[in-house]
Point group: C2
Chain length 269, copies 2
Amino acid sequence: MESWKYWGISYFRPMIYVTIIGTGNVSYHLQRAFSKAAGVCLESVISARDMERLALLREKTTNQKGSIESTQSRVYLIAVSDGAIAEVAQRLKGVDGIIAHTSGNTPLAVLPEDSRRGVFYPLQTFSKNSVISFKKVPLCIEAGRKHDLKVLKELARQISGTVRTLNSEERKILHLAAVFVNNFTNHLYQVGAEICTENKVSFDLLRPLIKETAKKIESLAPFAAQTGPASRNDQQTIENHLGLLKNQHHKDIYKILTQSIANTHAKKL
Amino acid sequence: MESWKYWGISYFRPMIYVTIIGTGNVSYHLQRAFSKAAGVCLESVISARDMERLALLREKTTNQKGSIESTQSRVYLIAVSDGAIAEVAQRLKGVDGIIAHTSGNTPLAVLPEDSRRGVFYPLQTFSKNSVISFKKVPLCIEAGRKHDLKVLKELARQISGTVRTLNSEERKILHLAAVFVNNFTNHLYQVGAEICTENKVSFDLLRPLIKETAKKIESLAPFAAQTGPASRNDQQTIENHLGLLKNQHHKDIYKILTQSIANTHAKKL
Protein backbone atom coordinates (compact mmCIF):
# COMPACT_ATOMS: atom_id res chain seq x y z
CA MET A 1 0.00 0.00 0.00
CA GLU A 2 3.05 2.21 0.35
CA SER A 3 3.11 2.39 -3.46
CA TRP A 4 -0.06 4.45 -3.36
CA LYS A 5 1.82 7.08 -1.48
CA TYR A 6 4.92 6.70 -3.62
CA TRP A 7 3.13 7.34 -6.88
CA GLY A 8 0.88 9.93 -5.31
CA ILE A 9 -2.16 8.19 -6.77
CA SER A 10 -5.10 6.66 -4.89
CA TYR A 11 -7.27 4.37 -6.97
CA PHE A 12 -10.14 3.52 -4.65
CA ARG A 13 -10.24 5.92 -1.76
CA PRO A 14 -8.05 8.76 -0.65
CA MET A 15 -5.15 7.86 1.58
CA ILE A 16 -5.33 9.48 5.00
CA TYR A 17 -2.08 10.89 6.37
CA VAL A 18 -1.88 10.73 10.13
CA THR A 19 0.49 12.34 12.61
CA ILE A 20 0.21 11.37 16.27
CA ILE A 21 1.31 13.72 19.02
CA GLY A 22 2.07 11.86 22.24
CA THR A 23 3.95 8.66 22.97
CA GLY A 24 1.89 7.00 25.71
CA ASN A 25 -0.29 3.89 25.69
CA VAL A 26 -3.04 5.28 23.44
CA SER A 27 -0.46 6.48 20.93
CA TYR A 28 1.30 3.11 20.98
CA HIS A 29 -1.87 1.13 20.26
CA LEU A 30 -3.05 3.58 17.58
CA GLN A 31 0.34 3.27 15.85
CA ARG A 32 0.03 -0.52 15.85
CA ALA A 33 -3.49 -0.34 14.39
CA PHE A 34 -2.67 2.28 11.72
CA SER A 35 0.42 0.40 10.61
CA LYS A 36 -1.84 -2.48 9.55
CA ALA A 37 -4.49 -0.29 7.85
CA ALA A 38 -4.36 -0.13 4.06
CA GLY A 39 -5.74 3.38 3.65
CA VAL A 40 -3.67 5.08 6.32
CA CYS A 41 -0.15 6.46 6.12
CA LEU A 42 1.32 7.15 9.54
CA GLU A 43 3.53 10.16 8.77
CA SER A 44 5.08 10.65 12.17
CA VAL A 45 4.80 10.27 15.91
CA ILE A 46 5.94 13.27 17.91
CA SER A 47 6.42 13.60 21.63
CA ALA A 48 4.35 16.42 23.09
CA ARG A 49 7.54 17.68 24.75
CA ASP A 50 9.35 18.00 21.40
CA MET A 51 8.41 21.64 20.77
CA GLU A 52 10.91 21.96 17.97
CA ARG A 53 9.41 19.19 15.90
CA LEU A 54 5.91 20.49 16.59
CA ALA A 55 6.97 23.86 15.19
CA LEU A 56 8.54 22.18 12.15
CA LEU A 57 5.25 20.40 11.57
CA ARG A 58 3.45 23.66 10.95
CA GLU A 59 6.14 24.93 8.66
CA LYS A 60 6.30 21.71 6.71
CA THR A 61 2.57 21.41 6.08
CA THR A 62 2.42 25.06 5.06
CA ASN A 63 5.23 24.54 2.54
CA GLN A 64 3.77 21.30 1.21
CA LYS A 65 0.24 22.64 0.80
CA GLY A 66 -0.97 21.35 -2.54
CA SER A 67 1.87 18.91 -3.00
CA ILE A 68 -0.38 16.08 -1.87
CA GLU A 69 -3.54 15.62 -3.91
CA SER A 70 -6.42 17.62 -2.56
CA THR A 71 -8.54 14.48 -2.10
CA GLN A 72 -6.09 13.27 0.51
CA SER A 73 -6.46 14.24 4.16
CA ARG A 74 -4.19 15.02 7.00
CA VAL A 75 -5.22 14.23 10.55
CA TYR A 76 -3.28 15.26 13.67
CA LEU A 77 -4.23 13.06 16.59
CA ILE A 78 -3.44 14.45 20.04
CA ALA A 79 -2.85 11.48 22.36
CA VAL A 80 -1.56 13.22 25.47
CA SER A 81 -2.86 13.59 29.05
CA ASP A 82 -6.15 15.49 29.29
CA GLY A 83 -4.53 18.50 30.94
CA ALA A 84 -2.03 18.98 28.09
CA ILE A 85 -4.47 18.78 25.16
CA ALA A 86 -5.32 22.50 24.94
CA GLU A 87 -1.68 23.55 24.94
CA VAL A 88 -0.63 21.04 22.28
CA ALA A 89 -3.60 22.08 20.15
CA GLN A 90 -2.54 25.73 20.39
CA ARG A 91 0.89 24.79 19.08
CA LEU A 92 -0.67 22.94 16.15
CA LYS A 93 -2.86 25.89 15.15
CA GLY A 94 -2.36 26.66 11.50
CA VAL A 95 -1.44 23.17 10.30
CA ASP A 96 -3.14 21.95 7.15
CA GLY A 97 -5.62 19.31 8.38
CA ILE A 98 -7.89 18.11 11.14
CA ILE A 99 -6.75 18.45 14.76
CA ALA A 100 -8.45 15.77 16.88
CA HIS A 101 -7.90 14.73 20.48
CA THR A 102 -8.38 11.18 21.75
CA SER A 103 -9.85 11.85 25.21
CA GLY A 104 -13.19 10.66 26.57
CA ASN A 105 -13.61 13.32 29.19
CA THR A 106 -12.48 16.38 27.19
CA PRO A 107 -14.98 18.43 25.15
CA LEU A 108 -14.35 19.31 21.52
CA ALA A 109 -14.40 22.95 22.61
CA VAL A 110 -10.92 22.87 24.19
CA LEU A 111 -9.50 22.79 20.65
CA PRO A 112 -9.06 26.17 18.87
CA GLU A 113 -12.39 27.33 17.44
CA ASP A 114 -10.88 28.45 14.14
CA SER A 115 -9.20 25.09 13.48
CA ARG A 116 -10.67 22.00 11.82
CA ARG A 117 -11.27 20.33 15.16
CA GLY A 118 -12.46 16.86 16.06
CA VAL A 119 -12.43 13.98 18.53
CA PHE A 120 -11.22 10.41 17.93
CA TYR A 121 -11.87 8.55 21.19
CA PRO A 122 -11.09 4.82 21.45
CA LEU A 123 -13.20 3.41 24.30
CA GLN A 124 -10.79 0.86 25.72
CA THR A 125 -8.18 0.39 28.46
CA PHE A 126 -4.67 0.38 27.05
CA SER A 127 -1.53 -1.02 28.61
CA LYS A 128 1.69 -1.54 26.70
CA ASN A 129 1.88 -5.15 27.92
CA SER A 130 -1.58 -6.14 26.68
CA VAL A 131 -2.14 -6.79 22.97
CA ILE A 132 -5.47 -5.39 21.76
CA SER A 133 -7.45 -6.22 18.66
CA PHE A 134 -8.42 -2.72 17.57
CA LYS A 135 -11.15 -4.11 15.29
CA LYS A 136 -13.31 -4.53 18.40
CA VAL A 137 -12.53 -1.20 20.05
CA PRO A 138 -15.47 1.25 19.73
CA LEU A 139 -14.29 4.56 18.24
CA CYS A 140 -16.33 7.63 19.20
CA ILE A 141 -16.07 10.41 16.66
CA GLU A 142 -16.97 14.09 16.77
CA ALA A 143 -16.06 17.02 14.50
CA GLY A 144 -16.87 20.68 14.11
CA ARG A 145 -17.49 20.39 10.34
CA LYS A 146 -19.47 17.84 8.37
CA HIS A 147 -16.66 17.03 5.93
CA ASP A 148 -14.17 16.52 8.76
CA LEU A 149 -16.59 14.15 10.49
CA LYS A 150 -16.62 12.10 7.28
CA VAL A 151 -12.82 11.99 7.16
CA LEU A 152 -12.52 10.96 10.83
CA LYS A 153 -15.15 8.27 10.29
CA GLU A 154 -13.22 6.91 7.31
CA LEU A 155 -10.07 6.89 9.38
CA ALA A 156 -11.86 5.13 12.25
CA ARG A 157 -13.34 2.49 9.94
CA GLN A 158 -9.83 1.66 8.74
CA ILE A 159 -9.02 0.24 12.16
CA SER A 160 -12.30 -0.52 13.97
CA GLY A 161 -15.55 -2.34 13.28
CA THR A 162 -17.50 -0.12 15.69
CA VAL A 163 -17.57 3.59 14.81
CA ARG A 164 -20.09 5.94 16.45
CA THR A 165 -20.73 9.68 16.23
CA LEU A 166 -21.15 11.06 19.76
CA ASN A 167 -21.21 14.65 20.97
CA SER A 168 -19.04 15.84 23.86
CA GLU A 169 -21.78 15.34 26.46
CA GLU A 170 -22.50 11.75 25.38
CA ARG A 171 -18.80 10.96 25.32
CA LYS A 172 -18.38 12.32 28.86
CA ILE A 173 -21.16 10.04 30.11
CA LEU A 174 -19.57 7.04 28.40
CA HIS A 175 -16.23 7.89 29.97
CA LEU A 176 -17.86 8.16 33.39
CA ALA A 177 -19.59 4.78 32.98
CA ALA A 178 -16.24 3.37 31.81
CA VAL A 179 -14.68 4.42 35.12
CA PHE A 180 -17.22 2.20 36.90
CA VAL A 181 -16.89 -0.87 34.67
CA ASN A 182 -13.12 -0.61 34.24
CA ASN A 183 -11.24 1.43 36.90
CA PHE A 184 -13.51 0.50 39.79
CA THR A 185 -13.90 -3.11 38.69
CA ASN A 186 -10.13 -3.46 38.52
CA HIS A 187 -9.90 -2.03 42.02
CA LEU A 188 -12.28 -4.74 43.25
CA TYR A 189 -9.85 -7.27 41.78
CA GLN A 190 -7.19 -5.47 43.82
CA VAL A 191 -9.26 -5.76 47.02
CA GLY A 192 -9.89 -9.45 46.26
CA ALA A 193 -6.15 -9.95 45.84
CA GLU A 194 -5.43 -8.14 49.12
CA ILE A 195 -7.93 -10.32 51.01
CA CYS A 196 -6.29 -13.45 49.56
CA THR A 197 -2.76 -12.27 50.37
CA GLU A 198 -3.64 -11.26 53.94
CA ASN A 199 -5.06 -14.75 54.51
CA LYS A 200 -2.50 -16.72 52.49
CA VAL A 201 -4.99 -18.04 49.95
CA SER A 202 -4.06 -18.13 46.25
CA PHE A 203 -5.62 -15.26 44.21
CA ASP A 204 -5.05 -17.38 41.08
CA LEU A 205 -8.05 -19.52 42.05
CA LEU A 206 -10.23 -16.44 41.39
CA ARG A 207 -9.01 -15.82 37.84
CA PRO A 208 -11.51 -18.15 36.08
CA LEU A 209 -14.31 -16.46 38.06
CA ILE A 210 -13.15 -12.99 36.97
CA LYS A 211 -13.16 -14.13 33.35
CA GLU A 212 -16.62 -15.68 33.55
CA THR A 213 -18.07 -12.62 35.33
CA ALA A 214 -17.13 -10.48 32.33
CA LYS A 215 -18.11 -13.15 29.79
CA LYS A 216 -21.64 -13.38 31.17
CA ILE A 217 -22.20 -9.71 30.24
CA GLU A 218 -21.72 -10.55 26.56
CA SER A 219 -25.15 -12.20 26.57
CA LEU A 220 -26.87 -11.15 29.82
CA ALA A 221 -27.92 -7.77 31.22
CA PRO A 222 -26.08 -7.01 34.50
CA PHE A 223 -29.31 -7.29 36.50
CA ALA A 224 -29.97 -10.82 35.20
CA ALA A 225 -26.35 -11.84 35.85
CA GLN A 226 -26.34 -10.69 39.50
CA THR A 227 -25.85 -13.46 42.08
CA GLY A 228 -24.60 -13.57 45.67
CA PRO A 229 -25.76 -12.85 49.23
CA ALA A 230 -26.76 -9.20 48.66
CA SER A 231 -29.10 -9.97 45.76
CA ARG A 232 -30.90 -12.74 47.70
CA ASN A 233 -30.84 -10.74 50.96
CA ASP A 234 -28.85 -13.46 52.78
CA GLN A 235 -28.12 -11.50 56.01
CA GLN A 236 -26.35 -14.44 57.65
CA THR A 237 -23.66 -14.62 54.95
CA ILE A 238 -23.35 -10.83 54.84
CA GLU A 239 -22.67 -10.74 58.59
CA ASN A 240 -20.18 -13.61 58.29
CA HIS A 241 -18.32 -11.69 55.61
CA LEU A 242 -18.23 -8.43 57.58
CA GLY A 243 -16.85 -10.40 60.52
CA LEU A 244 -14.05 -11.81 58.34
CA LEU A 245 -12.97 -8.42 56.95
CA LYS A 246 -10.25 -6.83 59.05
CA ASN A 247 -9.47 -3.83 56.84
CA GLN A 248 -11.92 -0.96 57.52
CA HIS A 249 -11.75 0.28 53.89
CA HIS A 250 -12.70 -3.18 52.64
CA LYS A 251 -15.57 -3.24 55.14
CA ASP A 252 -16.85 0.16 53.94
CA ILE A 253 -16.73 -0.95 50.29
CA TYR A 254 -18.48 -4.20 51.20
CA LYS A 255 -21.28 -2.35 53.01
CA ILE A 256 -21.97 0.29 50.38
CA LEU A 257 -22.01 -2.17 47.46
CA THR A 258 -24.11 -4.71 49.36
CA GLN A 259 -26.62 -1.96 50.17
CA SER A 260 -26.64 -0.79 46.56
CA ILE A 261 -27.27 -4.32 45.22
CA ALA A 262 -30.07 -4.80 47.77
CA ASN A 263 -31.67 -1.49 46.71
CA THR A 264 -31.44 -2.37 43.02
CA HIS A 265 -33.05 -5.76 43.54
CA ALA A 266 -35.74 -4.53 45.96
CA LYS A 267 -36.72 -1.89 43.36
CA LYS A 268 -37.02 -4.33 40.46
CA LEU A 269 -38.63 -7.31 42.16
CA MET B 1 -18.16 -46.48 30.07
CA GLU B 2 -21.62 -47.56 31.08
CA SER B 3 -20.47 -51.16 30.47
CA TRP B 4 -18.17 -50.88 33.45
CA LYS B 5 -21.18 -50.41 35.61
CA TYR B 6 -23.21 -53.08 33.77
CA TRP B 7 -20.69 -55.83 34.38
CA GLY B 8 -19.87 -54.57 37.82
CA ILE B 9 -16.19 -54.59 36.97
CA SER B 10 -13.79 -51.64 36.94
CA TYR B 11 -10.54 -52.29 35.17
CA PHE B 12 -8.57 -49.09 35.72
CA ARG B 13 -10.11 -47.11 38.49
CA PRO B 14 -13.25 -47.48 40.56
CA MET B 15 -16.39 -45.90 39.17
CA ILE B 16 -17.78 -43.19 41.43
CA TYR B 17 -21.56 -43.16 41.90
CA VAL B 18 -22.95 -39.69 42.48
CA THR B 19 -26.33 -38.50 43.68
CA ILE B 20 -27.03 -34.77 43.66
CA ILE B 21 -29.55 -33.23 46.04
CA GLY B 22 -30.84 -29.92 44.75
CA THR B 23 -31.96 -28.73 41.33
CA GLY B 24 -30.57 -25.18 41.08
CA ASN B 25 -27.77 -23.71 38.98
CA VAL B 26 -24.88 -25.51 40.69
CA SER B 27 -26.72 -28.85 40.38
CA TYR B 28 -27.46 -28.21 36.70
CA HIS B 29 -23.83 -27.47 35.83
CA LEU B 30 -22.51 -30.39 37.89
CA GLN B 31 -24.93 -32.73 36.11
CA ARG B 32 -23.67 -31.50 32.74
CA ALA B 33 -20.05 -32.02 33.78
CA PHE B 34 -20.58 -35.49 35.33
CA SER B 35 -22.53 -36.70 32.32
CA LYS B 36 -19.38 -36.24 30.23
CA ALA B 37 -16.98 -37.79 32.78
CA ALA B 38 -15.87 -41.37 32.08
CA GLY B 39 -15.39 -42.48 35.67
CA VAL B 40 -18.61 -41.06 37.10
CA CYS B 41 -22.08 -42.55 37.13
CA LEU B 42 -24.73 -39.97 38.00
CA GLU B 43 -27.25 -42.13 39.84
CA SER B 44 -29.93 -39.55 40.49
CA VAL B 45 -30.81 -35.91 41.03
CA ILE B 46 -33.28 -35.27 43.82
CA SER B 47 -35.03 -32.06 44.75
CA ALA B 48 -34.37 -31.06 48.35
CA ARG B 49 -38.13 -30.71 48.78
CA ASP B 50 -38.74 -34.34 47.76
CA MET B 51 -38.64 -35.81 51.30
CA GLU B 52 -40.06 -39.09 50.16
CA ARG B 53 -37.29 -39.77 47.68
CA LEU B 54 -34.67 -38.66 50.22
CA ALA B 55 -36.05 -41.24 52.66
CA LEU B 56 -36.02 -43.91 49.93
CA LEU B 57 -32.39 -43.09 49.29
CA ARG B 58 -31.38 -44.18 52.75
CA GLU B 59 -33.43 -47.34 52.55
CA LYS B 60 -32.09 -48.19 49.12
CA THR B 61 -28.43 -47.79 49.99
CA THR B 62 -28.90 -49.79 53.18
CA ASN B 63 -30.49 -52.64 51.20
CA GLN B 64 -27.89 -52.53 48.45
CA LYS B 65 -24.93 -52.46 50.80
CA GLY B 66 -22.40 -54.82 49.35
CA SER B 67 -24.15 -55.26 46.03
CA ILE B 68 -21.75 -52.81 44.44
CA GLU B 69 -18.08 -53.72 44.73
CA SER B 70 -16.45 -52.27 47.78
CA THR B 71 -13.85 -50.46 45.67
CA GLN B 72 -16.60 -48.29 44.24
CA SER B 73 -17.72 -45.14 46.01
CA ARG B 74 -20.94 -43.33 46.55
CA VAL B 75 -20.95 -39.55 46.92
CA TYR B 76 -24.01 -37.48 47.87
CA LEU B 77 -23.55 -33.86 46.79
CA ILE B 78 -25.77 -31.33 48.53
CA ALA B 79 -26.31 -28.44 46.09
CA VAL B 80 -28.96 -26.43 47.92
CA SER B 81 -29.05 -22.93 49.45
CA ASP B 82 -26.62 -22.46 52.36
CA GLY B 83 -29.41 -22.28 54.93
CA ALA B 84 -30.88 -25.66 53.93
CA ILE B 85 -27.63 -27.69 53.93
CA ALA B 86 -27.75 -28.80 57.59
CA GLU B 87 -31.35 -30.03 57.31
CA VAL B 88 -30.76 -31.98 54.10
CA ALA B 89 -27.62 -33.51 55.61
CA GLN B 90 -29.62 -34.65 58.64
CA ARG B 91 -32.06 -36.44 56.36
CA LEU B 92 -29.18 -38.17 54.56
CA LYS B 93 -27.63 -39.46 57.80
CA GLY B 94 -27.08 -43.17 57.56
CA VAL B 95 -26.61 -43.42 53.79
CA ASP B 96 -23.70 -45.52 52.60
CA GLY B 97 -21.19 -42.99 51.26
CA ILE B 98 -19.73 -39.52 51.51
CA ILE B 99 -22.05 -36.58 52.19
CA ALA B 100 -20.52 -33.37 50.77
CA HIS B 101 -21.94 -29.90 50.37
CA THR B 102 -20.99 -27.52 47.56
CA SER B 103 -20.98 -24.20 49.40
CA GLY B 104 -18.10 -21.73 49.73
CA ASN B 105 -19.26 -20.04 52.87
CA THR B 106 -20.41 -23.08 54.88
CA PRO B 107 -18.00 -24.96 57.17
CA LEU B 108 -17.59 -28.72 56.98
CA ALA B 109 -18.85 -28.82 60.58
CA VAL B 110 -22.51 -28.20 59.65
CA LEU B 111 -22.61 -31.80 58.36
CA PRO B 112 -23.29 -34.57 60.94
CA GLU B 113 -20.10 -35.40 62.81
CA ASP B 114 -20.68 -39.15 62.65
CA SER B 115 -21.13 -39.17 58.86
CA ARG B 116 -18.43 -39.38 56.16
CA ARG B 117 -18.57 -35.65 55.54
CA GLY B 118 -16.88 -33.47 52.93
CA VAL B 119 -16.98 -30.34 50.82
CA PHE B 120 -16.95 -30.10 47.02
CA TYR B 121 -16.97 -26.36 46.22
CA PRO B 122 -16.81 -25.20 42.59
CA LEU B 123 -15.49 -21.62 42.61
CA GLN B 124 -17.49 -20.13 39.76
CA THR B 125 -20.65 -18.13 39.03
CA PHE B 126 -23.36 -20.31 37.54
CA SER B 127 -26.39 -19.24 35.51
CA LYS B 128 -28.52 -21.65 33.53
CA ASN B 129 -28.17 -19.48 30.41
CA SER B 130 -24.38 -19.45 30.42
CA VAL B 131 -22.45 -22.53 29.23
CA ILE B 132 -19.41 -23.23 31.39
CA SER B 133 -16.35 -25.32 30.64
CA PHE B 134 -16.00 -27.15 33.94
CA LYS B 135 -12.42 -28.13 33.10
CA LYS B 136 -11.38 -24.59 34.10
CA VAL B 137 -13.49 -24.29 37.27
CA PRO B 138 -11.35 -24.59 40.42
CA LEU B 139 -12.76 -27.26 42.74
CA CYS B 140 -12.02 -26.80 46.44
CA ILE B 141 -12.12 -30.05 48.38
CA GLU B 142 -12.29 -30.87 52.08
CA ALA B 143 -13.14 -34.06 53.97
CA GLY B 144 -13.22 -35.35 57.53
CA ARG B 145 -11.34 -38.56 56.67
CA LYS B 146 -8.22 -39.11 54.58
CA HIS B 147 -9.76 -41.80 52.38
CA ASP B 148 -12.83 -39.68 51.67
CA LEU B 149 -10.58 -36.75 50.67
CA LYS B 150 -8.97 -39.08 48.13
CA VAL B 151 -12.36 -40.10 46.71
CA LEU B 152 -13.57 -36.48 46.45
CA LYS B 153 -10.31 -35.50 44.75
CA GLU B 154 -10.72 -38.31 42.22
CA LEU B 155 -14.27 -37.19 41.58
CA ALA B 156 -13.14 -33.56 41.19
CA ARG B 157 -10.34 -34.53 38.77
CA GLN B 158 -12.92 -36.24 36.57
CA ILE B 159 -14.44 -32.86 35.72
CA SER B 160 -11.86 -30.16 36.52
CA GLY B 161 -8.22 -29.40 35.79
CA THR B 162 -7.80 -27.37 39.00
CA VAL B 163 -8.41 -29.30 42.24
CA ARG B 164 -7.28 -27.88 45.59
CA THR B 165 -7.57 -29.06 49.18
CA LEU B 166 -8.71 -26.12 51.33
CA ASN B 167 -9.97 -26.08 54.90
CA SER B 168 -13.21 -24.34 55.88
CA GLU B 169 -11.46 -21.09 56.89
CA GLU B 170 -9.53 -20.82 53.63
CA ARG B 171 -12.66 -21.55 51.62
CA LYS B 172 -14.56 -18.82 53.48
CA ILE B 173 -11.87 -16.29 52.59
CA LEU B 174 -11.97 -17.34 48.97
CA HIS B 175 -15.76 -17.00 48.95
CA LEU B 176 -15.47 -13.53 50.46
CA ALA B 177 -12.91 -12.45 47.86
CA ALA B 178 -15.21 -13.93 45.19
CA VAL B 179 -17.99 -11.60 46.33
CA PHE B 180 -15.71 -8.65 45.53
CA VAL B 181 -14.50 -9.84 42.12
CA ASN B 182 -17.84 -11.27 41.01
CA ASN B 183 -20.95 -9.94 42.82
CA PHE B 184 -19.62 -6.42 43.34
CA THR B 185 -17.99 -6.23 39.93
CA ASN B 186 -21.25 -7.23 38.32
CA HIS B 187 -23.01 -4.51 40.29
CA LEU B 188 -20.57 -1.95 38.87
CA TYR B 189 -21.64 -3.15 35.40
CA GLN B 190 -25.19 -2.51 36.61
CA VAL B 191 -24.31 1.05 37.71
CA GLY B 192 -22.57 1.64 34.38
CA ALA B 193 -25.70 0.46 32.57
CA GLU B 194 -27.91 2.74 34.70
CA ILE B 195 -25.71 5.76 33.93
CA CYS B 196 -25.93 4.96 30.21
CA THR B 197 -29.70 4.45 30.28
CA GLU B 198 -30.35 7.65 32.25
CA ASN B 199 -28.38 9.59 29.66
CA LYS B 200 -29.54 7.68 26.56
CA VAL B 201 -26.09 6.38 25.64
CA SER B 202 -25.67 2.77 24.47
CA PHE B 203 -24.28 0.43 27.17
CA ASP B 204 -23.21 -1.94 24.38
CA LEU B 205 -20.28 0.35 23.63
CA LEU B 206 -18.85 -0.63 27.04
CA ARG B 207 -18.91 -4.39 26.46
CA PRO B 208 -15.47 -4.65 24.78
CA LEU B 209 -14.01 -2.64 27.68
CA ILE B 210 -15.59 -4.98 30.24
CA LYS B 211 -14.07 -7.97 28.43
CA GLU B 212 -10.61 -6.42 28.21
CA THR B 213 -10.67 -5.34 31.88
CA ALA B 214 -11.06 -8.99 32.89
CA LYS B 215 -8.64 -10.26 30.23
CA LYS B 216 -5.83 -8.04 31.50
CA ILE B 217 -5.95 -9.87 34.85
CA GLU B 218 -4.93 -13.11 33.14
CA SER B 219 -1.42 -11.74 32.78
CA LEU B 220 -1.21 -8.63 35.01
CA ALA B 221 -1.57 -8.10 38.76
CA PRO B 222 -4.53 -5.80 39.53
CA PHE B 223 -2.20 -3.06 40.79
CA ALA B 224 -0.29 -2.99 37.50
CA ALA B 225 -3.52 -3.01 35.48
CA GLN B 226 -5.05 -0.02 37.30
CA THR B 227 -5.67 3.07 35.14
CA GLY B 228 -7.98 6.08 35.40
CA PRO B 229 -8.28 9.43 37.19
CA ALA B 230 -8.12 8.05 40.77
CA SER B 231 -4.81 6.22 40.22
CA ARG B 232 -3.15 9.30 38.69
CA ASN B 233 -4.79 11.67 41.20
CA ASP B 234 -6.53 13.68 38.43
CA GLN B 235 -8.76 15.85 40.66
CA GLN B 236 -10.19 17.81 37.72
CA THR B 237 -11.66 14.69 36.09
CA ILE B 238 -12.88 13.35 39.45
CA GLU B 239 -14.78 16.60 40.08
CA ASN B 240 -16.21 16.56 36.56
CA HIS B 241 -17.47 13.04 37.13
CA LEU B 242 -19.04 13.83 40.51
CA GLY B 243 -20.79 16.77 38.85
CA LEU B 244 -22.24 14.50 36.17
CA LEU B 245 -23.61 11.91 38.62
CA LYS B 246 -27.18 12.67 39.61
CA ASN B 247 -27.90 9.52 41.64
CA GLN B 248 -26.62 9.90 45.23
CA HIS B 249 -25.89 6.15 45.55
CA HIS B 250 -23.73 6.29 42.43
CA LYS B 251 -21.95 9.34 43.86
CA ASP B 252 -21.24 7.52 47.14
CA ILE B 253 -19.86 4.49 45.32
CA TYR B 254 -17.73 6.75 43.12
CA LYS B 255 -16.28 8.56 46.13
CA ILE B 256 -15.45 5.51 48.23
CA LEU B 257 -13.79 3.59 45.37
CA THR B 258 -11.88 6.64 44.15
CA GLN B 259 -10.58 7.20 47.68
CA SER B 260 -9.65 3.53 48.00
CA ILE B 261 -7.73 3.53 44.68
CA ALA B 262 -5.93 6.72 45.73
CA ASN B 263 -4.97 5.15 49.08
CA THR B 264 -3.71 1.98 47.40
CA HIS B 265 -1.56 3.90 44.94
CA ALA B 266 -0.26 6.41 47.50
CA LYS B 267 0.82 3.47 49.68
CA LYS B 268 2.71 1.65 46.95
CA LEU B 269 4.36 4.55 45.14
